[in-house]
């Protein structure tokens, strides 16, 4: 399931929603991304996430479908927020549920790596010197490239 939203979310509730009806699930891996108060040694007072409505949902759904093709999952969820957020706030949540832990862990990491390089979101950080667009990191491309099927 894909949710692109401005509102905050409740991690515990989302896990419950995915698992409570399916007792075949043995493992639930999740990743929660939070707004940090420091980036590149500069203090961050807030962050605004811009996105491309329509394409965002499309890309996240494609990434999720790909994870379900590669691993046997009982359920999966991607929530990504947009708008203005302050340090400590929740940005992104990925949950994968499977019979066994290996599939849950791997697919969760895969979803985060792909999302980081494919989903059309852009971060604008507010520092004492004003707003600054965050540069993409090479390490994210490297992380995503691990999953290329040969």
């Amino acid at each position: 399931m894909i949710k692109v939203q401005e509102e905050d979310f409740d991690v515990g509730q989302e896990i419950k929603n995915l698992t409570q009806e399916n007792h075949a699930i043995g493992g639930v891996a999740s990743f929660l991304g939070l707004v940090r108060d420091i980036a590149s040694n500069e203090e961050i007072s807030a962050m605004t996430l811009e996105h491309y409505p329509g394409m965002t949902e499309k890309m996240l759904a494609e990434i999720e479908a790909e994870a379900n093709r590669r691993w046997e999952l009982d359920a999966s969820l991607i929530i990504h927020r947009y708008g203005r957020m302050e340090p400590g706030e929740q940005i992104v949540l990925v949950i994968t549920c499977s019979k066994h832990r290996k599939a849950a862990f791997e697919s969760c990491e895969f979803l985060m790596d792909y999302l980081k390089t494919k989903a059309p979101f852009w971060k604008l950080e507010e520092t004492s010197e004003g707003g600054k667009w965050v540069d993409a990191r090479d390490s994210d491309d490297t992380a995503a490239s691990r999953w290329i099927e040969t």
């Binding site: 811009e50 491309y52 329509g54 394409m55 990504h80 992104v92 494919k118 059309p120 979101f121 852009w122």
Partner: protein, 83 residues
Amino acid sequence: MKILYFAWLRTTIGKSTEEITPPETVKTVSDLLDWMPSLGENYSSALEKRDLLRIAINQEYADPEHVIKPDDEVALFPPVTGG
């Protein structure tokens, strides 16, 4: 053709979306990026880091060789930084 700009491309060009009608010689994404700087200094400045840009046609990533059609939705943006 509908065109959208995001992040620093949007702020440099000064708008988030517009309707453009490129000349008939513009057949591919690459042709479009060759022609756009002629629209003004804000465009040429935004396109300086052209190799960094990502292009989506109808909300799917596209290569520079991708052929564009008049009713396509074309988006230009920097590498993504979500998550």
